[in-house]
Amino acid sequence: MENNKTIDLQNRKIDELLRKRQEGMFNFSESTKELIAMGVKIGKRDNGEITVPSSYLPYLDKFNESNLEFEWLARYNDGSILSQFEGEIQRNFKDIDQAKLKSIEFISNFSWSTDMVEKRIIVRLNWETGMFEFTNGFASQEVRAKCCVAPLIGDKKLILFARKRLSSAVGDASGELKEFINMMDEFFFYNRFVLGYQVPTGEKMAVIIEPNGDIKLFNE
């Protein structure tokens, strides 16, 4: 048989497109998996679905209206407790009386299926000692060495905020492309929670709680 240049070229083109397609599918799957593992929420406007790790699915309906994975709870030295959310009441940073503070913690904003009722403490900052406790958060030895051994000396000013990131897609693809995969409708959000304190020298001891429960040092 004779070689036919046209047929060879067609085969090469098909192979190239198959490779591209396969790479695309692999990259899509792998990057989605990694995003979810980081705690990035991928939302779809058309059906309202949010993609989270499968282990989180039972808790989705318990997220509060801001989709916060964690909420803070302040314990005062007179034994009283101030919660960020209490029924219809929502509190924020300025409602915390730092002079009375005994400890402040971030707790999971949902119950866990293993115990049904407990809101787990992820991080607790003992305001009296300046030391952190990582009860259910995943903190590395580096973080523990920095935050659980030697406190910063001096009057403390509370650092407490959420850093929120929201990404939205702009643009569109032609109808022929949308037939195969509808990627136009996604948005992505990612919350990080920062807890710590600053002393008069300007030094800070603070941690970032990632939505998947990982703890990192806040080093701004």
Binding site: G43, K44, R45, D46, N64, E65, S66, L68, E71, W72, Q84, F85, Q90, R91, N92, F93, K94, L160, F161, A162, R163, K164, R165, L166, S167, S168, A169, V170, G171, D172, A173, S174, L177, M183, M184, D185, E186, F187, F188, F189
Partner: protein, 167 residues
Amino acid sequence: MAATFAWAQTYGSAPGTVASLGISGNLFNFKRADDATAANYSSNPISAGDKSYEVWLRGKFTGSFNKVDNVQFWKSTDFSPATGLSVKWAPATPSAYATPVTGVNKAVSAVPTSDPGTANVRCRGGLTSGLVASGYTDYIVLQLVTTSAAAAGDTSLAIFTMNYDES
């Protein structure tokens, strides 16, 4: 610490009309029409070599919060392919609205393509002012600038990101 965020677009002759875009999905498209719908871009196309109308966006924050600040904006992903396409913005993030145009006006610099690290969107006229009550950031003015190399048809997607601190 439970502010509610939504994108808002102002369009039309100054002082303009404010429309809430929400947060999800394809919120707007660049086109040769000055309105607040993503739907009619195909009937208002941008010819290769032309510019879109400016899109005047703001972040709208409502609800209970102490402060919203450190507002950052960047383009996370570019159009793909991006030949002949660039999105410009007004890095000064003006606090006063001006009627959108298709010429060179406010949007003169390329939008940052990575996390700027510090605030680059003003609130109440300043980068450190933030919001202490419900309100809007200053304006993020975007404009799609094309060259003759831009391909015909839809642009594909670009992803824009807003990042802020809330206490």
